[in-house]
Symmetry: C2
Subunit: 315 residues, 2 copies
């Protein structure tokens, strides 16, 4: 019997599953590796998982056969993925972003959520949403003075028949003129962020700033990969909006000013055509003054956009 000084450091335990009932040929060429793997993977009891795992096996093996990675390339890839996993936290989606620069999430999203009726399309929530916001009224500003170029957001929330939705909650947040969200500062003060409600005609409007494009955090594998591809690490500027109204599906989306130079080459391919908004330059000082801008002589950009909500289907 083993004494304390010779106890195994960790116990890897047999999972209780016996060898398969069928006999597999011993491996002496690549085709047998593929055939054996498929036979092993096909044991998956759940039909959906079996489909996913066998399909993954076929694609993985075809990829390897086509690209013939060297052992060094393969082990380099495994290390790269392990580092990405190690950097992944609730605040930093390193693994997710690495697949996103290959278009994964964008593709899944456009397949699963094709544009339908006139309903406003969805976009990612992103890591910078928080309930710690300012409650504002229509016409108020969500940005403190000096945070960037003036923008006025003016829209209506309507249903698919164009009828206004009153009292819908609109959450908006955006990066400031240095490309940072309030959450990225230490002071804990909400800024460039606000929550308001639509009026009886479904209207919402608030002062804000023109959001600024910002880079993805690129001091890890993601950054190395983008450099290896000679690709920039920018996300085009955008305004985050969530609209929530009883009886309607909650809408999480982002709107992208068309004037942004990164608009068509978003590093994560997240920009949807229908979410691009043309900003209108307004230089009329009286209008700017009437809307409450502190320096009306600077003019402002008008962001005008209605939002169409989908009625909830009863479960």
């Amino acid at each position: 019997m083993a004494d304390a000084s010779s106890t195994a450091k960790y116990e890897a335990l047999h999972n209780g599953i016996e060898p398969p009932s069928f006999k597999l040929p011993l491996i002496d060429n690549p085709e047998i590796v593929t055939a054996n793997t498929l036979k092993l993977v096909e044991q998956t009891p759940d039909a959906r998982k079996r489909f996913l795992f066998t399909t993954l096996t076929r694609y993985l093996h075809d990829f390897i056969k086509e690209t013939k990675p060297t052992t060094e390339e393969w082990h380099g890839t495994l290390k790269f993925l392990s580092r990405a996993g190690q950097l992944s936290t609730p605040d930093r989606q390193e693994m997710e972003l690495i697949l996103d620069i290959f278009g994964a999430e964008a593709l899944i999203d456009t397949i699963n959520n094709p544009p339908k009726d006139s309903v406003t399309e969805r976009a990612l929530l992103g890591p910078f949403f928080t309930e710690h916001t300012h409650d504002v009224s229509n016409g108020d500003s969500i940005a403190s003075e000096g945070k960037g170029e003036y923008m006025y957001v003016d829209g209506r929330v309507v249903d698919t028949e164009g009828k206004p939705i009153a009292n819908a909650v609109v959450d908006a947040w955006e990066a400031d003129d240095t490309g940072h969200y309030d959450l990225q500062y230490d002071n804990g003060v909400p800024d460039c962020r606000g929550r308001l409600r639509t009026d009886a005609e479904g209207k919402f409007n608030f002062r804000a700033i023109v959001p600024i494009a910002y880079p993805l955090l690129s001091d890890g594998p993601l950054g190395e990969l983008l450099l290896a591809m000679n690709r920039h690490n920018m996300r085009p500027s955008h305004l985050h909006i969530i609209v929530d109204a009883p009886g309607y599906e909650k809408l999480v989306t982002q709107f992208y000013p068309s004037e942004d130079k990164w608009i068509d080459s978003d590093s994560v391919l997240g920009v949807k055509k229908s979410l691009v908004v043309d900003l209108e330059q307004v230089n009329d000082v009286e209008s700017a003054k009437a809307l409450g801008f502190q320096h009306p002589e600077r003019g402002f950009k008008l962001f005008k956009r209605d939002i169409v909500m989908r009625r909830k289907v009863d479960a």
Copy 2:
């Protein structure tokens, strides 16, 4: 200007790369996602990397189009991969093993290293090699008494023309009858592990024990995946051997007793047909006594196998 209390917590920096010189269409269907991703990835300057990245993009997108993962499935997969990365350390190859149960390393190895001439095939080094071993002489035992069923290893190291290679260093190590390596115990004493040299006729022989199959550490994503596939988590029993001789390519390999019940369903598909060895049961007490087994009445298993080395090609 930002003061100390409002300094951004971390600085994500633009990597200095400008938008591509070409204009990309805005996305409103899956085909545009794929086309845009390919155009972005094709910017990779290095030809080999460009080939790998564009091929990966094609396979990834085809896989997504064929399987149509839900958002939940996709995010579940990303979490799974992140956890695998977080568990990956020099002592635990969680990420690597997850791909290995899909046959990845086995496939890459059989493609890159097809059996050639009569040279003994390679196998993985594995995580349990150490220089901290016993130096033994031919005929000695590498296992302390009581570690398992007796085995006698008897072979020759030869070149591709069958000529003996004298004075080659043979390193051998194996799991004991509980399926553990010495390194997995706390006592720091080498056991079931030894190093010896071939004699003038290229012969090496030593007493050992019949190695025992053991499970992969399965308390993480790897274990969950094998369970989901209804697959066991065992590696068939094997004897690790490294042979090193001046003028020859160092050989790192493993030999697999054919009698093991897991031999054809290795969870990482690592068994090569040419490395499978039939053990011969010897019940002759006099032979066992002559070889030095402490309990010759128990008999032993004879592991007989020559090893063929490839001459180094001058650089």
